[in-house]
């Protein structure tokens, strides 16, 4: 029977099937960070259990790390959480990239760049944006802290089979329109819950044409329309990205892996529970106007009339009037960062808009690279100088103002052009207002002081 890529990945990881019970799946890579793991390690300790496969577990510090000043700059609770992760990893022999390490960074940035994220794997992490890793043709999803404990103890996870959805993105992206606009466009059409209970495959010519960075951006936001995981069949772009990375297979092992990876496509005739199609050539840069990622319109559009209580509340929170042109919305802050859009390609795209321009005097703008590796790569290319010359702050790696667990937060009422993934109320700081957009769009907002169609600046 023809199978989807998701079904193939699932079948290849089933340790045990029993009638009336969830399948028991094997986990190839478990990523751990400081915020959702302390209670899991404590649970292990109290029950006298240990980590079954520390060699398949990688920890980093990302959610609450300060992006300047090192661990000493953290508040007491954050520092305690980071120290506790270090203690837990030491006790259980789990490799840890702590603050100050060369490879420290956002968990969903470092896995791929180290070559640990590979096609065909099952990858979990106590973070909903684990869907990012699906860009490599992996089955990757977020889990809660109790599940973190379960995976630490057993390297397995009981999971009910999920349905399959397909999103086909045909055509070619116009200049100035990015992977972020694809996924915001998808969410604008589907709403924020249509993916519930499903694994999504993104396919079509516009997806094929994306770099791995772009594919990660698309898969990253699968959770924002409710899907458990998003994935893209691996191809030559995937293999070229992986080749030579520290943890990628070498020599004969590479050839063997490649043979298997090439089989990871949905079979002709495989059936999906639902399909969505989008023509990339018709897409424009997208900007959210509300307080969830589905409240989004093209930048050439206007703030829409409310169609629900949710819309009414969002307009009030965002202090916006229906009919306002998006381009008339003034911005106080710009954040270029997060597991969605803080990879080298994102920084290059933003820098290309900023080069020779200056941040608007009323705007405070910052760049937070996704990892210290990304930061070094950007500095090798001189991108840091472009950002700094334009008036951007250039920080160390971390989740930073995507969720505002460190001191990088919006003040109440401040309005931010952000390359992150969630515009929920208070997400970037209590009372703060977030407009999600692509890195070039955020860069354009930084220099003009308002939401603007980046195509006017190219």
């Amino acid at each position: 029977m023809p199978r989807t890529i998701a079904q193939k990945l699932w079948d290849a990881h089933v340790v045990r099937v029993a009638p009336g019970e969830p399948d028991l799946l094997y986990v190839d890579l478990h990523l751990v960070h400081e915020v959702t793991s302390p209670q899991a390690f404590e649970g292990l300790r109290l029950s006298g259990r240990h980590v079954r496969r520390p060699d398949l577990t990688l920890a980093t510090m990302d959610h609450n790390v300060p992006t300047k000043g090192g661990i000493k700059a953290a508040d007491d609770l954050s520092r305690r959480q980071m120290e506790l992760l270090a203690e837990n990893c030491k006790r259980e022999a789990i490799p840890l990239y702590q603050i100050g390490s060369r490879h420290q960074g956002i968990v969903h940035v470092i896995g791929p760049e180290l070559g640990l994220t590979q096609p065909g794997m099952v990858i979990v992490c106590g973070d909903s944006h684990t869907s990012t890793h699906g860009a490599f043709g992996a089955l990757a999803f977020g889990i809660g802290t109790s599940e973190v404990e379960l995976v630490l103890a057993t390297q397995c996870l009981p999971q009910k089979r999920l349905g399959d959805l397909a999103v086909t993105v045909s055509g070619e992206l116009p200049l100035g329109v990015t992977a972020k606009d694809i996924v915001l466009g998808v969410i604008g059409r589907t709403g924020i819950s249509q993916g519930q209970g499903h694994l999504v495959e993104y396919r079509g010519s516009a997806i094929r044409a994306l770099s791995m960075e772009g594919r990660m951006t698309v898969c990253n936001m699968s959770i924002e329309w409710g899907a458990k995981a998003g994935m893209i069949a691996p191809d030559d772009t995937t293999f070229a990205y992986l080749h030579g990375r520290p943890s990628a297979p070498k020599g004969a092992a590479w050839e063997a892996a490649l043979d298997y990876w090439r089989s990871l496509t949905s079979d002709e005739g495989a059936s999906f529970d639902g399909e969505t199609s989008i023509d990339a050539s018709q897409l424009e840069p997208h900007v959210t106007w509300g307080t969830n990622p589905g409240q989004v319109v093209p930048v050439t559009g206007r703030v829409p009339q409310p169609r629900s209580d949710t819309d009414e509340r969002a307009l009030k929170y965002m202090d916006l009037v229906p009919g306002t042109a998006l381009a008339d919305i003034a911005i106080d802050r710009v954040f270029i960062g997060s597991c969605t859009n803080a990879r080298i390609e994102d920084l290059r795209a933003a820098a290309s808009v900023i080069r020779g321009r200056h941040v608007h005097p009323k705007v405070r703008a910052m760049v937070v690279p996704g990892s210290m590796t990304v930061k070094r790569a950007a500095e090798d290319e001189g991108l840091d100088l472009v950002f700094k010359a334009a008036g951007f702050e250039w920080r160390n790696a971390g989740c930073s103002m995507c969720l505002g667990m460190n001191t990088d937060i919006l003040a109440p009422g401040e309005r931010c052009a952000s390359t992150s993934n969630r515009n929920f109320e208070g997400r970037q700081g209590s009372g703060g207002r977030t407009h999600l957009m692509s890195p070039p769009m955020a860069a354009a907002a930084a220099v003009t002081g308002h939401v603007v169609d980046v195509r006017e600046l190219l």
Binding site: R16, E21, L116, F141, A256, M405, G426
Partner: protein, 195 residues
């Protein structure tokens, strides 16, 4: 985990859809390293802005939350069901839940029950009109009932069994250690190990 079979109590209504976990428990409270003590921070920002439904005296002590579709969307933080539990809720009824949140409720022993939109609407209206109305969420009979109504709900039979018997899921998986070992013995050689 303690067994869970039935919850009887009053309802509190949050009449909105798409409530995300950032609202349920804002990020500043995720710095804590304990599994309990999150109750005071539940819906922190919404409560701080005043006049929030959970702070109305008529809903004090409610143990059943009735709310809109896609409850618990967004971040995977298990602190969200912990905060709801610590505040005093033992069951949540909604037309739908976000996947990760639903899984986290199960691990927390919080009954998350899905009913059709029309029935949830009745419960939300009932809670608003008569805050003293009692409902019972009965996992054994798979029904939500009160005066003059009984609504059947579907539930995953495995999760139902785990909750009713208070089973430790890690212990259940550990029973299959030999199968896990057998699976590990034939994993592909190229698969990466963390160095």
């Amino acid at each position: 985990m303690d067994p869970v079979s039935r919850v009887t109590g009053r309802m509190a209504p949050i009449d909105r859809a798409d409530v995300d976990t950032d609202q349920i428990i804002p990020k500043q409270f995720l710095k804590r390293i304990e599994r309990t003590g999150y109750g005071p921070f539940l819906f922190f920002d919404w409560r701080a802005s005043g006049d929030f439904v959970l702070d109305k005296p008529e809903h004090a002590g409610a143990s059943v939350l009735v709310t809109g579709a896609n409850f618990g969307c967004g971040s995977s933080r298990e602190h969200a069901p912990w905060a709801l539990r610590d505040f005093g809720f033992k069951a949540i009824i909604a037309p739908s839940f976000a996947d990760i949140f639903l899984g986290n409720c199960f691990k927390t022993g919080l009954l998350a029950v899905t009913l059709p939109e029309r029935q949830v609407r009745h419960l939300i209206d009932l809670a608003a009109e008569d805050p003293s109305a009692q409902v019972t969420v009965d996992l054994e009979k798979q029904e939500v009932r009160g005066e003059g109504f009984a609504y059947r709900f579907a539930v995953d039979p495995f999760q139902r069994d785990c909750l009713l018997r208070g089973l430790d899921e890690i212990g259940l998986v550990e029973r299959h250690t030999s199968e896990i070992g057998a699976f590990e013995s034939h994993r592909a050689e190229w698969l990466p190990a963390v160095k």
